[in-house]
Amino acid sequence: MHEFALADAVISAALETADKQNLSHITAIAVRIGELQQIDRETFEFALKEVIPNSEPRLAGTSITLEVQHASFRCRACEAEFTLDQTRGPLVEDQLEAIHFIPELARAFIRCPDCRSLDFELLTGRGVSIDYIEGE
């Protein structure tokens, strides 16, 4: 499950921020999960808890919130805007799995529902990002 790799990256980024800003305690981490990557929320939440080092006092009692952001696209050919739900019909399990690993592979499998172009812009909801880190 590569949710663990992404969770580990979130925790590493938080600790790097704490180092840079000289924080003795990280009080909150807000994580955004893009719908396109189809992260399993339960697995990701479990992984976030698992990858926090036991001996790391700066992450004791830290509030971690997750917000899912819907994926939206704009076709560069016909300028139509569309959502993942509008494209999901034709996608098969293997294609969704490939996008789960590398969201950019959406370009191999998703087409504009209006004109079938493969040239579209991902407006929102790509993958895992950090909205903010708070500490003291």
Partner: protein, 248 residues
């Protein structure tokens, strides 16, 4: 904030050396040299990884004869590279299989960071990067993200290639990257143009590999690729860089 960048630093911490096989021009043998180099290093007992960074035209898996079938790489706390010929191997083709993906610049950067953030190389002596042609996003991202990468610049004596390689060396110098040296490929005459170009940029001329008509036949089998005239010459060249690799 992109948390993957912290993930990349952590994932690559156990790798001793990173060698980016570059050259600017397409069709000058970067993939053959990257794959052969990886196989030779692994054969010499070095823990070796190979990452195909030609994200829109990956071919290393073809050279290695990998058929992904319906399988994806295994996962446990990240994605495990595939093992072939003793080399730990990763490519976007492990996920896209036969499907082409047309990527714009930002997509290339994102896909590259994603692969670096999720791949579990663990401890490696050498990670070989097969770079795409050109001086685009991948080259700049590798310089930005992997400051310690050493660039092995491939060239031929063709005037067209020399012009591109000259620009590549110029950019690498301006970016203050470490250039391992210039390696001449497909050498068929006594031209010293590549050697002179290396000298002009004060980087080592590592040697030359011959024109090799046996490569097509060797394609698809790791065991055959390390027995070609190209691999024999490459073994000599890299034995000066890696003492573990014995020349003839």
């Amino acid at each position: 904030m992109d948390p993957r960048l912290a993930g990349v630093r952590k994932r690559l911490a156990g790798i001793d050396r990173i060698i980016a096989v570059t050259g600017g021009k397409g069709g000058i043998g970067k993939s053959v040299v990257s794959v052969s180099l990886s196989l030779l290093l692994a054969e010499s007992g070095l823990r070796t990884g190979l990452l195909d960074l030609d994200l829109t035209g990956p071919t290393d898996h073809v050279l290695l004869g990998l058929d992904f079938g319906e399988q994806f790489p295994s996962e446990e706390f990240g994605v495990d590279p595939m093992l072939v010929g003793g080399v730990r191997f990763m490519s976007i083709a492990c996920f896209s299989k036969q499907s082409p993906a047309a990527l714009r610049g930002r997509d290339v950067t994102n896909a590259l960071i994603e692969m670096l953030a999720i791949t579990r190389w663990d401890e490696l002596d050498v990670l070989v990067l097969d770079m795409p042609p050109g001086l685009g996003d991948t080259s700049l991202d590798i310089v930005r993200l992997l400051e310690r990468a050493e660039h092995l610049v491939l060239a031929t004596s063709s005037r067209v290639v020399l012009e591109t390689v000259r620009r590549t060396l110029d950019v690498l110098a301006q970016l203050r990257t470490r250039v391992l040296g210039v390696l001449e490929n497909m050498k068929s005459d006594s031209s010293q143009a590549v050697e002179q170009l290396a000298s002009r940029f004060s980087v080592p001329y590592l040697g030359s590999l011959p024109e090799d008509s046996s490569l097509e036949l060797a394609t698809g089998t790791a065991e055959s690729l390390v027995r070609t005239p190209t691999a024999r010459a490459l073994r000599e060249v890299i034995s000066a860089v890696f003492p573990q690799v014995r020349g003839s």
